[in-house]
Symmetry: C2
């Protein structure tokens, strides 16, 4: 690593030229990511202001996936599209933060129910409210039709199974 590498001559290009034409395809994913991250960043800035500074970007979706009724780690992994081990580790972290709790299932000694604590329920409700406010901010800027069209268009070009809408608990509370 410390050995200098000879042979590199004339890497200097004082004239920054753009040889290729514009690639519009590169912008689309960036804009989608920017829109997503803008919402997420604003959400967590506001959540931190409201006493939930510990919540990481992913956690809100996990709380949403757990839902008011609770689930198991395996089912949670299925809902989130990750392995049960990954879901279990995420649950561990949220338990340590006080957002989730594990309780034994009296009907099945293998299962351990994952439930929202009051703190977790509070965070989930606040997330929903803040997301609604952020969407309203977009509506105020773009107009309701444009935002609705944006959502409709994205729903159209997105595989239907992306959201696992078949799984109960999503987007219902």
């Amino acid at each position: 690593m410390a050995t200098p590498d000879p042979g590199a001559s004339d890497p200097q290009t004082p004239d920054p030229q753009t040889p290729d034409p514009q690639r519009p395809g590169f912008l689309l994913p960036l804009l989608l990511l920017a829109g997503f991250r803008t919402l997420i960043d604003d959400l967590h800035a506001e959540l931190a202001r409201q006493g939930h500074a510990e919540l990481r970007p992913l956690h809100g979706f996990v709380l949403q996936a757990v839902g008011a009724e609770g689930t198991t780690a395996s089912e949670l992994g299925h809902r989130l599209g990750v392995s049960k081990q990954a879901a279990g580790k995420t649950v561990d972290r949220l338990v340590a933060l006080g957002y989730l709790e594990r309780v034994d299932d009296p009907h099945d000694a293998r299962r351990k129910l994952v439930r929202l604590t009051p703190h977790g329920l509070d965070g989930l409700h606040r997330s929903a409210v803040i997301f609604d406010e952020l969407r309203q901010r977009w509506v105020a800027i773009l107009g309701a039709e444009r935002v609705a069209a944006l959502e409709d268009d994205l729903r159209t070009v997105t595989p239907a199974n992306w959201f696992r809408l078949d799984v109960p608990g999503w987007f219902a509370g």
Copy 2:
């Protein structure tokens, strides 16, 4: 293709079927993320088909950020919005994969230029082509005006500095 989902995206239509009030704000970030990930997944499926199975989702943007002229790890971190250490580790991985190379800067013994190898250039060009094709696929589904409107709207609601358009090398080929 577009499955009409009554009440899911229209806050003006009351849907007595759902117990809780609709939280439209939750859908917006998910749809944006779904659109982004759909593009990225399709890109990498196609890249793998074209001999770039090793490229991970992030790497295309890194290659784009490096650009044809090359940069340093610090500058790369600035462009990507991460620390110079993180950028350095990402460069390490891409060097190991044969997409980037490090050469000493003869004008400044501290700097180590990061440049695309021919393999990296090939991957970058293929990414650009595939992204363009994916955007064309969206245009075929939604129409050119809707896709353009979607991009315009996202640009409007996104902080201007998100893309670091001031930094040379971005989106210029």
